[in-house]
């Protein structure tokens, strides 16, 4: 790379920051958890995951953490996705294809509105942790 001026350094830093901030897990209050069991993958969960990552980037959302988990048990409506936004009920969406994934980002995460016709469940209580059955 050629020698930089101050402006070029600042520009480079802004660009690189975006890339690195996705690695950073601090200050990420919103979570998207994608069911990646065999059933989920067969139903297209991988594509769903890609669309989520892409859409979040387009919308420049840096507070969202995308993770994967195993089968959530709702194999009849795969791919399934759990969405956790502070101040909103935790929900599990089913049949999340590319289009629904984009909708989740734009409507649920940005506009804070649930997408009613795709809600299939709410996450079960954590029975291992405190408060659950011993």
């Amino acid at each position: 790379m050629a020698k930089m001026t101050l402006e070029e350094l600042r520009k480079l830093r802004d660009e690189e920051k975006k890339g690195l901030s996705r690695r950073n897990v601090e200050n990420k209050d919103t979570q998207i958890i994608i069911g990646m069991g065999t059933c989920g993958i067969a139903a297209g969960a991988k594509e769903t995951l890609d669309v989520f990552v892409q859409t979040l980037e387009e919308c420049e959302l840096s507070n969202v953490r995308v993770t994967q988990t195993g089968c959530m048990g709702l194999c009849y409506v795969e791919p399934t996705v759990e969405v956790i936004v502070p101040g909103m009920p935790d929900v599990i969406y089913g049949k999340v294809d590319a289009e629904v994934a984009r909708k989740i980002v734009r409507k649920h995460i940005i506009n804070k509105a649930l997408i009613n016709d795709h809600i299939y469940d709410k996450p079960s209580a954590d029975i291992v942790g405190e408060g659950g059955a011993q």
């Binding site: 001026t5 830093r13 690189e16 897990v25 890609d50 979040l56 993770t67 954590d126 291992v128 942790g129």
Partner: protein, 596 residues
């Protein structure tokens, strides 16, 4: 550019590399290619995570899975299970509990009380990629220093921060810079002291390996502040990985115009050269270091004149330790006031300690100044290994002293350590338990200084040898009662009359252990007994008649065939043949062997 779904951070510090982390890195890439998720996974080799006890460490994001003791063979499972199927490899996790609320890095006790400024990028970025450093606010301090601040502003900011040298003596950094700035000579130098020599200390190496750009940036800022255009990094040749990463970093910064002529298009120019040392401990002393840079024999010269006015090649030079420099970019970027809020009254900021010895979690820890020893040893370090009893901590390496159980709640900063007769030093912390003999420890450190003494001045050369001979006599049970007063006499003479820090501080471990463990010295001299059971001349191994079942295990294990006895009969040790290796003691399943 497609977004990544996963990030795999592999520790590339020296400790993890010696445990095959390089192969883990290669295997991960290979496995990733095999299953076709290369485009979706970024694999980064980072600097040291600090948790060396658990190495090699692999961290997977965004799940924050903290994998420990990873082997190259595990790479396949990590990729196939975690990356492809989204299932964590539970058996490799640090916290293996099944609960959803599994520990992420923020919850591991080891990291709880730490606050990372110096090690801010270690284990986070790829040290061989300048872009990642820049993304973490890298070179922002330099920007500010070149375009927005005058020399006076920079030094004023340092003064506000309260930063003191991290190499040992704790001299205020702003004063050093100010002296050099005020010197009349137009040619000045910035010198980075990376000659880390204390046994057990490796924070400088880890900083250079994990975040080399922070040192380059800091030296350039120092150049701007004092009016220097050239710098030297003096580093020992035994640190090949650090040297290599520094070279890569320097090449990248030069190419991007962050080092060299007209930095970032300004009229300020600065360049750096690496000088390799051959590993002599005395070359960490600043005047000896300068002589070595000049190509002379590494021997100290009397001060004054101080290097601030008569340094490298007779020119005014700023000499700062690696850890001190690593703080500078953050201070300039975030402001001295921000920095001064961290730490204790007379010691600002954080300190990195290399926690080693009989501790459960050995590794690199960075804590705010004023953290108590108890917090470091028990909360972060996890206490003493193997459930033994805490005896003392040795700080400051061969120049420091011991801190005992009674002082565990002392806040660790420059002032309090000095009051206890120890020093901050470079930050080595060696934890000792009840099995460690204090006379033996003192002898070890003194032996190190005797070996490393350059021999130029008599107090260090002769005094050190005399002290060593006395200690050697004591550990052999041949000590005399007046040896204790002789130790004090010679020790104090060395402290006063030696030419440089090496000789002045060499008696510290002896005087400090003598002060806190006087009884132990007396037991050696009067009773010819080593309470810790360490000094070979003073101990003997015996077999208890009522406990020995005659299994013969000890006899088979003994390397010199000193144990005899019929099977199912009591065994006995031939004291003349015994070499006191302790094998029988550790192998016996019935506690039938004891030390006297």
């Amino acid at each position: 550019m497609p977004g990544y779904n996963h990030y795999i951070l592999v520790c590339g510090g020296t400790a993890c590399q010696s445990a095959k982390s390089e192969q883990i890195y290669k295997n991960l890439i290979h496995e990733c290619e095999k299953v076709g998720c290369k485009e979706k996974t970024q694999i980064v080799k980072t600097g040291c995570f600090g948790f060396c006890e658990q190495g090699p460490i692999v961290k997977v994001l965004p799940e924050e899975s903290f994998y420990v003791h990873v082997t190259p063979e595990d790479a396949k499972e990590i990729i196939e299970e975690h990356i492809v199927k989204g299932r964590e490899v539970t058996r490799l996790l640090y916290d293996k509990s099944e609960s959803k609320k599994r520990a992420s890095i923020d919850e591991i006790d080891f990291y709880q009380k730490q606050f990372r400024i110096v090690l801010r990028n270690c284990g986070v970025i790829d040290p061989e990629n300048i872009n990642e450093y820049i993304a973490r606010d890298g070179y922002m301090g330099l920007e500010k220093a070149i375009f927005e601040m005058s020399s006076e502003d920079i030094i004023e900011e340092l003064k506000k921060s309260g930063l003191r040298g991290r190499g040992g003596a704790g001299f205020p950094t702003w004063m050093k810079w100010n002296f050099t700035k005020g010197a009349a000579d137009p040619v000045k130098y910035i010198v980075c002291n990376a000659d880390e020599g204390d046994p057990g200390a490796y924070m400088d190496r880890s900083t250079l390996e994990g975040d080399p750009h922070s040192i380059l940036e800091a030296m350039t800022i120092a150049g701007k502040a004092v009016g220097a255009n050239y710098g030297y990094i003096y580093i020992r040749a035994e640190y090949p990985l650090a040297i290599n990463r520094l070279k890569i970093a320097m090449k990248q910064s030069r190419e991007m115009g962050l080092l060299g002529d007209n930095i970032l298009g300004s009229d300020f120019s600065f360049d750096i050269e690496i000088r390799l040392g051959a590993g002599a401990f005395v070359c960490g002393e600043e005047t000896a270091l300068l002589r070595s840079i000049e190509g002379e024999r590494g021997m100290p010269t009397p001060r004054p004149p101080f290097p601030a006015t008569h340094g490298a090649f007779g020119k005014p030079s700023v000499i700062n330790n690696v850890e001190t420099l690593a703080n500078i970019p953050v201070i300039i970027h975030k402001g001295g006031e921000w920095f001064s809020r961290i730490g204790s009254e007379d010691s600002k900021g954080t300190k990195v300690f290399a926690l080693t010895g009989k501790i459960a979690n050995s590794g690199l820890v960075e804590v705010p100044m004023g953290t108590t020893l108890r917090e470091i040893v028990y909360d972060i370090g996890g206490g003493i290994a193997n459930g033994r009893e805490f005896k003392a901590v040795q700080t400051g390496g061969p120049s420091g002293g011991v801190i005992t159980k009674d002082y565990l709640d002392t806040p660790i900063d420059y002032k309090h350590l000095k009051e206890l007769g120890s020093i901050m030093g470079s930050g080595g912390m060696i934890v000792m338990d009840e099995d460690d003999c204090m006379v033996d420890i003192a002898k070890f450190y003194l032996g190190f200084c005797v070996d490393e003494s350059c021999g130029k001045c008599a107090p260090c050369r002769i005094g050190g040898r005399t002290l060593y001979d006395i200690l050697d006599r004591i550990t052999k049970g041949e000590g005399k009662l007046d040896d204790i007063s002789k130790i004090k006499e010679v020790g104090h003479a060395m402290q006063k009359a030696s030419l440089c820090g090496l000789g002045q501080t060499a008696p510290n471990p002896v005087l400090s252990t003598l002060h806190y463990f006087n009884d132990e010295y007396k037991a050696h001299i009067k009773d010819h007994r080593c309470p810790a059971g360490k000094c070979k001349s003073l101990i003997s191994y015996h077999i208890l008649a009522d406990k020995c079942i005659g299994c013969g295990l000890c006899a088979r294990r003994c390397p010199v065939n000193a144990i005899s006895g019929e099977i199912r009969q009591m065994h006995a040790i031939d004291q003349d043949a015994c070499i006191k290796c302790g094998e029988c003691y550790s192998i016996c399943k019935f506690d039938a062997v004891y030390v006297r």
